[in-house]
Amino acid sequence: MKDIREDIAWAKINQDVMKSLENPRPLYWVILFFAVLAFGIGIGCEVYQYQMGMGVANLDNPHVWGLYIATFIFWIGMSHSGTLLSAILHLMHADWRKPIYRFAEAMTTFSLMTAGLFVMVHLGRLWQFYYAVPYPNERWVWPNFQSPLLWDAMAIFTYLSSSVLFLFVGMIPDLAIARDNMQSGWRRKLYTLLALGWEGTDRQWRNFRVTYLTIACFLIPLAVSVHSIVASDFGMSQQPGWHVTSFPPYFVAGALYSGCAAIITLFIILRYVFKFEEYMTLPILKKIVRLTFAIAMVWTYLNCVEFASVWYSHDAVSKDLLIQKMTGPYAPFWWAMIFCGSIVPLIFAIKRFQTNIPVLFATSLLLNLGMWLERWMIVSPTFSHGYYPWTWDHDQWPSMIQWGIVFGSFGWFTLLFMVFCKMFPSVSMYEVKEMVYHRSLHLKQNGTVEQGVH
């Protein structure tokens, strides 16, 4: 299994990454086409819902939250991968993250942007969104600062803006490389503007290092708090099935899990589409797979904790709901969640599958399906089987409009992500150089290589 070569010329790193901004493989355009198509379907459904009202989404009492909120949590969860790869592994000096953290950070940003849309879609009356904004007004409408929903809004805003800044700051040296390598045209102007006049002086690098590290330190507790707060939206309510103490760590583990699974999917796609075989290597993929497996087992354990705490509690309604999930109309989806989330990742334990790209691609899609189902199984069953029998409604099914908007969100995310990867370096050039430099230095010190990099 070949890893990144220590003797790779730095000019070649620049060339290879810059080439990805010019001519990707044709599959790129196919993906982009389907993304636009899916996004178009989502837009069509949203316009229809906007004009006709929330009734067309089949959201009613007791089913006030449906796929929109489930998918909102899914996208928030997906965003945690970027923080894991960029910030946590950065602090742990795991150098294998360097070729892949940029796209994970982009994933964080775009999945948060997608999640934010679902809040709007779920509100329905978009033209009255400003009612929810806390500013002095004469309507006597004022947000409740004690509500986790408001904490959520604040946490997501903080996370999104910090992630964008983290992504941008980390990209400045690469934008300067792009500026220096791009021929004249609007892209050169854009890179020149965004590079802020970076020249790699000792003063710039010194301050850059401290800044990047500081933001990374902020992002880790922020990421944990964001998903803990999302868990509080549920855990702090009295609804059956939600009032569980282990919800915050369960949500955080689920978030890291779905994020890692998505990283595997996108790793494989980018590796092929942008011809990054030399940088997104199989040993790196193997490490992500092992990390995902570990997180999958944590998630499975926390699932067991949740079920056990409901089962052995004296809350009969919550226990009824758990049985309802296992045996009622949601049972196929609930068991599919268990299968995809806890059984499928066992494939990762088998060594020969840890670098088998077709198997990993299919598995990562199944894991993501499982994680999406998990969010749906948190939200919808509780509304279908509440405290009072007269509120039970087991036969409600999300309308095609809901499904269409959920489908469209995947198109929107893919569109943003693929456009980003074509516009900006999705492999960090300067960090890959650092990685090969330090590795070659290490080898040189051990006397195994004769010559350095350049």
Binding site: W140, W142, L165, E199, G200, T201, N207, I215, P221
Partner: protein, 176 residues
């Protein structure tokens, strides 16, 4: 007296380090090694700091101020909003409840910290910046650049030192 710029490019850090050492040890009239020299590198390199010596970084002070300001202003803002909104039924509970406000304070602490850190970075790194008089794109590939600013009389000595250490390329600003 007006000063001119000179940029020398080197293929590796050892050579660049040798040049900097010699510039430090040589007394050159019209050139101050601490103020008139900038080292440019394609990667964040600990060796550069080692041979240039420790220089202070102030970004973390911006971080501290930003985080403290974000947290305290956030708490005050939320508390005053709660205290002034009389329509919300409190039911005997505190007007300014500390546990929920802590969550928002925590978020705003981080928000302030991150924003002001980035501002501090821009100030401390002097960004956005105009392109320096001599710039070579090879610095963003794999070369180490040593940019010096010196009076006319010192230019010759500097060039000799750069050439002695096998500079790959020497760029000179046109005379004024």
């Amino acid at each position: 007296m007006s000063k001119r710029h000179l940029l020398a490019l080197y293929g590796d850090f050892d050579q660049a380090e040798a040049v900097v050492r010699e510039l430090r040890n040589t007394k050159i009239n019209g050139f101050d090694v601490n103020d008139d020299m900038i080292v440019k590198s394609p990667i964040e390199h600990p060796e550069v700091e080692r041979f240039l010596g420790d220089k202070p970084v102030y970004v973390q002070w911006f971080t501290l101020v930003g985080a403290v300001l974000g947290g305290s202003l956030g708490f005050l803002g939320i508390s005053s909003a709660q205290a002034n909104f009389f329509m919300q039924m409190k039911g005997g509970k505190p007007i300014v409840p500390l546990p929920p406000n802590f969550v928002l304070t925590y978020e705003l602490f981080i928000l302030g910290g991150v924003y002001i850190t980035v501002l501090g970075f821009l100030i401390c790194a002097a960004l956005p910046a105009k392109r320096s008089p001599l710039y070579n794109a090879k610095v963003s590939v794999d070369n180490i650049g040593i940019l010096v600013k010196a009076e006319e009389a010192a230019i010759g000595v500097l060039k000799t030192i750069f050439t002695k250490h096998k500079a790959l390329e020497i760029q000179e600003e046109a005379g004024k």
